[in-house]
């Protein structure tokens, strides 16, 4: 995965070997040690939680559920704006705008096959590392 390497991963599966993972703990690092840490679990009475937190020296940003945007300068994360009413519509519209560019052979943000394959390689590496 380009500048990142998979340092460690512990993936947990249920007793039924046909079923998918129930927990993932993984760490990826850049060549100089900046880490991408992954904690993912299933179970317990709780709402869905999906957070992507990018930590900076001046401010950090947290994106929750792919569309709720918050910032911290050391204190609590504060929402940057009202979340959109239909975030999926915005994401899909953006994908389709990029798809139009792709079909016109113009620069775009869509994943190429090679990029998708690199991601799949990393994902399968994580899934293969069991406790």
């Amino acid at each position: 995965l380009g500048p990142l390497s998979l340092i460690s991963a512990h993936t947990t599966y249920p007793d039924d070997p046909s079923l998918c993972e129930t927990a993932v703990l993984a760490r990826l690092e850049s060549k100089t040690g900046q880490a991408v840490s992954i904690l993912a679990t299933i179970g317990g009475v709780q709402p869905d939680r999906q957070e992507f937190i990018v930590k900076g020296t001046k401010s950090s940003r947290r994106v929750t559920d792919f569309h709720k945007d918050a910032i911290s300068d050391g204190g609590a994360f504060i929402a940057l704006r009202e979340p959109p009413k239909d975030p999926r519509a915005i994401s899909l519209k953006a994908q389709l705008d990029d798809l139009s560019l792709h079909l016109a052979a113009k620069p775009n943000r869509l994943a190429t096959m090679e990029e998708a394959f690199r991601i799949q390689t990393l994902v399968e590496s994580i899934l293969a590392k069991t406790l």
Binding site: L1, P3, L4, Y13, L19, C20, E21, V24, T32, Q34, V36, I38, L39, A40, T41, I42, G44, Q46, D48, R49, Q50, E51, F52, I53, K55, G56, T57, K58, S59, V63, F66, H67, I71, P84, A89, I90, S91, L92, K93, A94, L96, D97, D98, L99, S100, H102, L103, L110, A111, M113, E115, A116, F117, I119, Q120, T121, V123, E124, I126, L127
Partner: protein, 210 residues
């Protein structure tokens, strides 16, 4: 891409009318550059639901019939059955938009990628969530230098159950062979990180974080 499609709305075939297929059908219909008129799925109830969502579209007799009418083929069927449709579409000169992962495993993906590379057609893979406004804005903040040096990323997911309630129709998501949250959700974040932050991570390699 067939020449005429570049100057007018693109005729689209959607193969696979589950959650993602229906969702893409709805949003392609709203988009001026796409005409998602040709649909196919082996499940009659999925076809019925798609027609309720979008009465303007047609359920074709077979996947190949849908592919033959289109300039762009969107494959939202499960990975296990994706390869023959992808290769048939590419052989017909169609552009391809694929759900991820495009193969059921790495060997199949590598084989499919090699097969598609023999055709000179546009191919892209859909990581929808990486294009959201919040992640786009985060990237802009990073580019402006508002965040300072990036020190790392934490990805945290917790779910009471998997698949989530709204995904129950996609039964394959609960199985180890094709499903799971790592492939389905974490992959979006890794794609975003890889394509949007890769260069920056290289840059901060000169920064002493100790």
């Amino acid at each position: 891409l067939k020449k005429e499609a570049a100057i007018m709305a693109v005729k689209v075939a959607i193969i696979g009318l589950g959650i993602m297929g229906q969702r893409m059908l709805t949003h392609m219909r709203r988009h001026q550059n796409f005409e998602p008129d040709y649909l196919w799925d082996p499940d009659e109830s999925a076809c019925h639901q798609a027609l309720i969502l979008d009465p303007q579209s047609k359920i074709m007799d077979s996947a190949n019939d849908a592919i033959s009418e289109a300039d762009l083929v969107y494959l939202a069927c499960p990975p296990a059955v994706r390869e023959p449709y992808a290769l048939a579409a590419a052989a017909a000169g169609n552009a391809l938009f694929l759900e991820k992962p495009f193969g059921i495993n790495l060997d199949d993906s590598a084989k499919l990628m090699a097969g598609l590379q023999t055709y000179n057609v546009p191919v892209a893979v859909n990581f929808t969530q990486a294009s959201g406004a919040a992640l786009t804005d985060l990237l802009a903040a990073k580019d402006r230098g508002d965040m300072g040096y990036l020190l790392g990323v934490d990805i945290i997911l917790t779910y009471p159950a998997w698949p989530r309630q709204w995904q129950k129709g996609a039964d394959w998501l609960r199985f180890r062979a094709e499903g799971g949250m790592t492939r389905e959700v974490i992959s979006h974040f890794l794609f975003f990180h890889r394509t949007r932050f890769g260069a920056f991570i290289t840059y901060i390699g000169t920064y002493d974080i100790s």
